[in-house]
Symmetry: D4
Amino acid sequence: MTMKVYLSGEIHTDWREQIIEGSKDLDVAFSSPVTNHAASDDCGVAILGDEPNKFWHDHKSAKVNAIRTRHGIENADIVVVRFGEKYKQWNAAFDAGMAAALGKSLIVLSQPDHQHPLKEVHAAALAVAEEPRQVVEILNYVLSGKLP
Amino acid sequence: MTMKVYLSGEIHTDWREQIIEGSKDLDVAFSSPVTNHAASDDCGVAILGDEPNKFWHDHKSAKVNAIRTRHGIENADIVVVRFGEKYKQWNAAFDAGMAAALGKSLIVLSQPDHQHPLKEVHAAALAVAEEPRQVVEILNYVLSGKLP
Amino acid sequence: MTMKVYLSGEIHTDWREQIIEGSKDLDVAFSSPVTNHAASDDCGVAILGDEPNKFWHDHKSAKVNAIRTRHGIENADIVVVRFGEKYKQWNAAFDAGMAAALGKSLIVLSQPDHQHPLKEVHAAALAVAEEPRQVVEILNYVLSGKLP
Amino acid sequence: MTMKVYLSGEIHTDWREQIIEGSKDLDVAFSSPVTNHAASDDCGVAILGDEPNKFWHDHKSAKVNAIRTRHGIENADIVVVRFGEKYKQWNAAFDAGMAAALGKSLIVLSQPDHQHPLKEVHAAALAVAEEPRQVVEILNYVLSGKLP
Amino acid sequence: MTMKVYLSGEIHTDWREQIIEGSKDLDVAFSSPVTNHAASDDCGVAILGDEPNKFWHDHKSAKVNAIRTRHGIENADIVVVRFGEKYKQWNAAFDAGMAAALGKSLIVLSQPDHQHPLKEVHAAALAVAEEPRQVVEILNYVLSGKLP
Amino acid sequence: MTMKVYLSGEIHTDWREQIIEGSKDLDVAFSSPVTNHAASDDCGVAILGDEPNKFWHDHKSAKVNAIRTRHGIENADIVVVRFGEKYKQWNAAFDAGMAAALGKSLIVLSQPDHQHPLKEVHAAALAVAEEPRQVVEILNYVLSGKLP
Amino acid sequence: MTMKVYLSGEIHTDWREQIIEGSKDLDVAFSSPVTNHAASDDCGVAILGDEPNKFWHDHKSAKVNAIRTRHGIENADIVVVRFGEKYKQWNAAFDAGMAAALGKSLIVLSQPDHQHPLKEVHAAALAVAEEPRQVVEILNYVLSGKLP
Amino acid sequence: MTMKVYLSGEIHTDWREQIIEGSKDLDVAFSSPVTNHAASDDCGVAILGDEPNKFWHDHKSAKVNAIRTRHGIENADIVVVRFGEKYKQWNAAFDAGMAAALGKSLIVLSQPDHQHPLKEVHAAALAVAEEPRQVVEILNYVLSGKLP
């Protein structure tokens, strides 16, 4: 039983690396968005031509990135969405909404002080974790039946 | 041609009333979440019993609210998502993600200083407006073919 | 906003009547299985001819009943499944599984001593109630935004 | 022609092992829920933190288990559901309902004295067997065309 | 509870009229193919121009008829397929296959001497009747819960 | 039996009026894109603000128009696509592709000298007509069973 | 580009072998029903127990066979349905109807004197051939672009 | 992460070869229609028999080609549609419409002077490029996260 796992959300800490490293003995195939912030912001104009207007600059990049992110979410069995400490992170919540509507198993990785504003997202999740280690433990349990 | 429009997001200003009032001569059926903040927060425990733990208090309410919000989104032709000035508003972005995944026509109502963090949501939208009046104008155009 | 509600499960008490009576001022359209136990058991052979073998006797009836129950579940916005005190009630759990797989909003009406064996069904539900009155309150809240 | 088979239901006898052993020469990929009863009951709190309330204790575990069981059912070609002699087994009937709604080929493994309460589940099945050996024979026939 | 019923198959006897007449007090909306044999055979060339080749003559008509028959089947809750005494009737079996694949409730109306060659179609049906009266009784039972 | 018909394509002749007038006694609900060329081209900037770049000017309008056209196509039973004598008409072919992928009954209205370049579109259609009168005759036949 | 091809229909001549042999150098994965007539007729009772009534004898077998045939059709890219000279062959037309409803590419292999009664099936097909050799040529062209 | 990319549209220049060559180090599986113009035009009659009428000559070929093109589009993650300088190219726009309706990531490769008539197709695309090199850069970025 191979599990395909998409790792969505916050790109400023090493939570993806922790999960991937912790799951290295499991039959899991991970995918994720481009996590290079500058490349992600500029891919549209870098490839398809400059835009003087910031809206269209961002629009072109968001659409090119969507080729990757939608593929990742649509092909995943499990979508893990991480909410970090900073920024608006509406793209993370947007991905969670897509995952829920597509019937994916949703795991949310968030911190206690975000509990109230995340209640609708949590309500759609099959697990709410606070630490990357817990996500590894879930994957390990789901695949092997073994508890930590 | 009747249009079913779901009005998602910010509940602290009268943007819904403006749109509904402005569209009163159009063949539109509006739906929306419960916009009474206190009722929305407490519906779960008020009906199904108290929870000492805030997580489960919120969880019960979020699920009861989901009965209404998912019905609204799944049955809509158009989903309008309003991002206001304050709060995390992850439920708004979550609704936008659901709408996009379900193939609904998405209209985002947001302000210019939120342009960058909303770029992924904007990229999935068929229109990005700043004023409720513009949403009315879109509905009027879509239904009657008339421009303001 | 009309809600279509299918009332599945236990047929030996008046819980359906309580919910329908309590919701008489709401914009709800209820449907349910045939609750006449004898008719439900014998409809197949009564219409399509006797079967000496009990398996096929039951099989013919179960399939004729399925014409009605699947129509009810597939067309519902909300599926309420009631587990009573007695009997195996596997058809109730089967209906709950169908409702979950079809993305319906599931409300379970069950008693506390069934909590553990119903945990998988509860986990798929948006509300777990113990009294028909609570289902009425949920419907009232979902439609009107008003708490009891 | 590889067949993916999910083995749902009763976890107290060796029926899964009998089927897997009997099918060892067939091109079948089996999956199943976690069958360690204690791990299955406690996985939620063991990984995500204790819950004093038994409802939420069970709820957390049921959701973590759902990551595995839904993956198994959704990816299966055939879902075998075994009803044993004891317990409520509503999760087995729930899985059967999901399998039916998702259009999976459903095989029910049950005993004669459960015939009447299982009639709705049997009516949705493509085969009703009493012995694990018969499930092996079905798999063998479906894959090789050979009868026992 | 309104039921939409599509009446497919044999067009040489008055079985449709019997069912419609017998169901006149029920909340059923019937649809059917064009049962004027000559019009059905020639509609393509009559409207879209002659074809010297019989294959294309028939092809044009079969496609124009498909506009009606697919609409009927796709919008039905119940598809009744009648196999008569004569002719190949492959279009009836084709309609039954479409109905089965679309998850419609299938009722087959056939005679005993066709039992063996219809076994695959019967296996996909929720009822196998021999007389139009029985179809009326099923519709009556499904809608009212009353047995004959 | 009501039929919902979407009239896509060429906007420079009165073919839509001919079909609507000719079908006035039939139970048909027609929809169509905005056929005011100037409004259709400028709706985006007129409502949502000017764009100096022609690409984004057109982009905004095309997306606002898509709210109406996708609603029309997705809700139609039949999609009629008219190819006229002039212009690229890629939007007409695009609509035909959407209709085909969504399983709609497609009727193409085109002229003989476009036969070869339209062969892939014709191959997906249930009827290929040259005159609006023929579309009326098809609708009349499909609804009433009567030939002209 | 691998093509999955299901070979449905007549089981009394070697048409399947001809197609498989002719396609041996192509990247095609074939599947088919059990073509051993006796095994196919008796698989149900041989595995699941005798039935004195011929209807249920056939019913049990038809359902066991459906596990294989539905898997084959649902997983195919192309469904080839062969109509032979004899028998009612309603299962072949039923399979064609399923294939059409599921959006599979349908190839019909039939003889000229069956043209009229097969017109509805032909109208749903992407190719109508008379010889197994032509099916091989289609597969070869579709995969390699080469004509015979 | 393997990407399946279908290359639709213009067949008179070497744009496909440029993209495939430029992507040779990426984990991409390309598919495309038959690009031999003569074979594509004549495949129907070459395999299935002559047609004196040009419409049916083209019809037979278009349907045989559809076996390949629909397989390519339905199985693709990304559909690239190239509009060249000449011809009507309605099949390209038709493919783009299918891709959009099926939720594929659409990349359009077109030239500036076609901007206005392609606005509806562009509005459905996640990227609009002018050079094959840009498509390669998008694929490289989507797969590796690296910008040119």
